[in-house]
């Protein structure tokens, strides 16, 4: 599914990713853990093509296709979805309008017919009920005045409706209380499947109690410095990142 090899990337001329390599096969969930400033969010933005994140070397492919050559919207149409650490507020655009515009744009790129209005509303009702989101909230401007937890749930709702193949969750647990975390994790787990893969970026182990990873990687100093099974997350929780930061320095 996702292959990243010797990836280098800079922001404002400062190198943040320094030769990062990573393989996430279809059907697997990989966690990326690391200290603040390790490059976790940079990785998510480089993979999704945000302006200002300059790739200076290396490759990233999705099912063999060069991701880095595609625009952000082309990557989205290929199934790449980023759940933002801080979801944006979009004044004046109802959540339903935003999601339908995105869904239809993706469908057009893939040569599919646009979704009909009744079909879309049915999908929105079903998925919002699953995520315990009040449907009327979707008529309001996206994320405007929403609490941190509501914004995160709205990200998962978009994920559920857009049905992406490769999911990147950037600090999805931040700002969530335990009930919201469970709802969000259930939503994410419902999307697990043999044709999908996920990259779960987190600072804390807590989220991984709910979204159980197949592999855990430690990102420090712009590179993956250690990889292991789920037990690695517990070790990091106990012992911290210090020795990896030293190793990366």
């Amino acid at each position: 599914m996702l292959t990243v090899s010797n990836l280098h990337a800079a922001v404002d001329g400062k190198e943040i990713l320094k030769g990062l390599s990573l393989d996430v096969p279809a059907g697997e969930v990989h966690a990326i853990m690391g200290p603040n400033g390790a490059g976790k969010s940079t990785l998510s933005y480089v993979l999704t093509g945000r302006d200002g994140y300059e790739v200076t070397g290396g490759i990233a492919t999705l099912d063999g296709e060069d991701l880095l050559a595609l625009s952000p919207d082309e990557r989205a149409a290929r199934g790449v979805f980023l759940s933002f650490q801080y979801p944006l507020e979009i004044p004046g655009v109802p959540a339903l309008t935003f999601i339908r515009t995105a869904l239809n744009a993706q469908r057009r790129v893939r040569g599919e017919a646009e979704i009909s209005a009744p079909e879309f509303l049915k999908l929105a009702r079903t998925k919002s009920a699953e995520l315990k989101i009040d449907f009327d909230m979707l008529k309001r401007a996206l994320n405007v005045g929403f609490s941190g937890g509501e914004k995160k749930r709205m990200e998962i709702l978009q994920m559920a409706m857009l049905s992406p193949r490769f999911l990147i969750l950037d600090e999805t647990d931040s700002g969530l209380d335990i009930d919201a975390l469970r709802i969000v994790a259930d939503g994410v787990n419902a999307l697990r499947g043999p044709d999908r893969a996920m990259l779960v970026i987190t600072h804390y182990q807590r989220l991984l109690d709910y979204i159980k990873p197949d592999r855990v990687h430690v990102l420090a100093g712009g590179r993956i410095v250690a990889s292991g099974g789920p037990e690695l997350a517990h070790e990091l929780e106990r012992e911290g990142y210090e020795r990896y930061e030293k190793a990366a320095a």
Binding site: D73, L82, L88, I90, G92, A102
Partner: protein, 340 residues
């Protein structure tokens, strides 16, 4: 100094220009070297108007002329008023509107041209106590046209005046509204949108004078400028001595979508009374790049994401239009211009 007298006297020395403080951003004297010939009377068809569906009472002034619209006390009326220029001549129009006590008028007003005409329109609008006017102005001007509209609005106690001016510019375009507000629980709303592209210029100038107590004014003007276009907003609210308990709020916000586009804004509050609630906000900036990336990450191609965000930006003004049908005409007009 006025365009109307300049056209009447065929004298460019009468044109307002950058030495006139209120015209410094819309300099007609520097622009017009010689006034064109007076427009000939027009005999042909002008086609349908965009608001025809909402009114059987249609007034069409082609290449100038006079019109009077009166609504008797207690009546309700809807009028589609079209000020049309055909050809590249010069002309003036004069429209008088009188709205009787407790009467209600919806006025759908359009400015249309097809060549480098020089046109000026004067509107004199008076509202009797308890009268209501919703005025929607929509422009569809030629890129070579010069068009100036000047409205004088006289409110009365407990009258309500709401306007939404939707402008897409011309070679020079100015839509000016002066409101004399006697307070007395009268309310004025002066909203506007300018969407200007190419080398077009659009100026929205408003002056509201609160002459007595208990008046309300609210204003929200939004602009989107692209290419080498220029948007001008001048909003002045004057609260005269003794006009206590006036509540006046003004907002102007513009998006500049290219390096060579320009917005000039002058919001002014002149307050000579003590007990008032007045506020103004003014912002000029670019589209939020983070929001743009958010939309693109979800799959929207960049032009579509931009259009969605700019439509939402001006949507706040359009949503305030009271008449359902007109609101959707205006929304479609804006979408067409933003997606062009």
């Amino acid at each position: 100094m006025s365009l109307a007298t300049a056209i009447r006297d065929r004298d460019v020395a009468e044109l307002p220009g950058k030495r006139d403080e209120d015209w410094r951003w819309t300099d007609l004297r520097g622009l017009i070297r010689a006034l064109p010939e007076p427009s000939p009377a027009f005999e042909g068809e002008v086609g349908e108007g965009v608001f025809d569906a909402f009114s059987a009472d249609r007034r069409v002034l082609v290449n100038g002329g006079d019109a009077t619209i009166e609504v008797a006390g207690g009546d309700a009326a809807t009028v589609a008023l079209r000020l049309v220029s055909r050809g590249a001549g010069a002309h003036t129009s004069r429209v008088t509107l009188r709205i009787g006590e407790g009467a209600r008028l919806r006025l759908f007003e359009t400015y249309e041209s097809d060549a480098g005409s020089v046109a000026q329109a004067s509107l004199t609008i008076s509202l009797a106590p308890g009268a209501a006017l919703e005025r929607i102005v929509l422009t569809s001007e030629d890129a070579e046209a010069v068009s100036v509209s000047q409205a004088e609005v006289l409110l009365a106690p407990k009258s309500r005046f709401s306007q939404t001016v939707m402008a897409s510019g011309a070679r020079r375009q100015r839509l000016e509204t002066h409101v004399l507000h006697p307070g007395g629980q009268g309310a004025a709303r002066l909203d506007g949108v300018y969407l200007v592209a190419g080398k077009r210029h659009s100026d929205q100038t408003t002056v509201v004078t609160h002459a007595s107590v208990d008046g309300v004014t609210e204003q929200l003007v939004k602009g989107v400028v692209r290419d080498q276009a220029r948007g001008v907003f001048q909003g002045r609210i004057v609260v005269e001595e003794g006009a206590d308990r006036t509540d006046a709020r003004m907002g102007h916000h513009a998006l500049i979508l290219s390096d060579r586009a320009e917005v000039d804004a002058k919001p002014e509050l002149e307050i000579y009374a003590d007990d008032v609630a007045c506020a103004h906000g003014n912002t000029v900036g670019a589209l939020d790049e983070d929001a743009l990336f958010y939309g693109r990450q979800r799959g929207m191609p960049e032009p579509e994401a931009r259009a969605l965000l700019t439509e939402a930006f001006i949507g706040e003004v359009i949503d305030r239009i009271e008449h359902d049908g007109a609101r959707e005409v205006v929304r479609a007009w804006a979408a067409e211009r933003l997606r062009a």
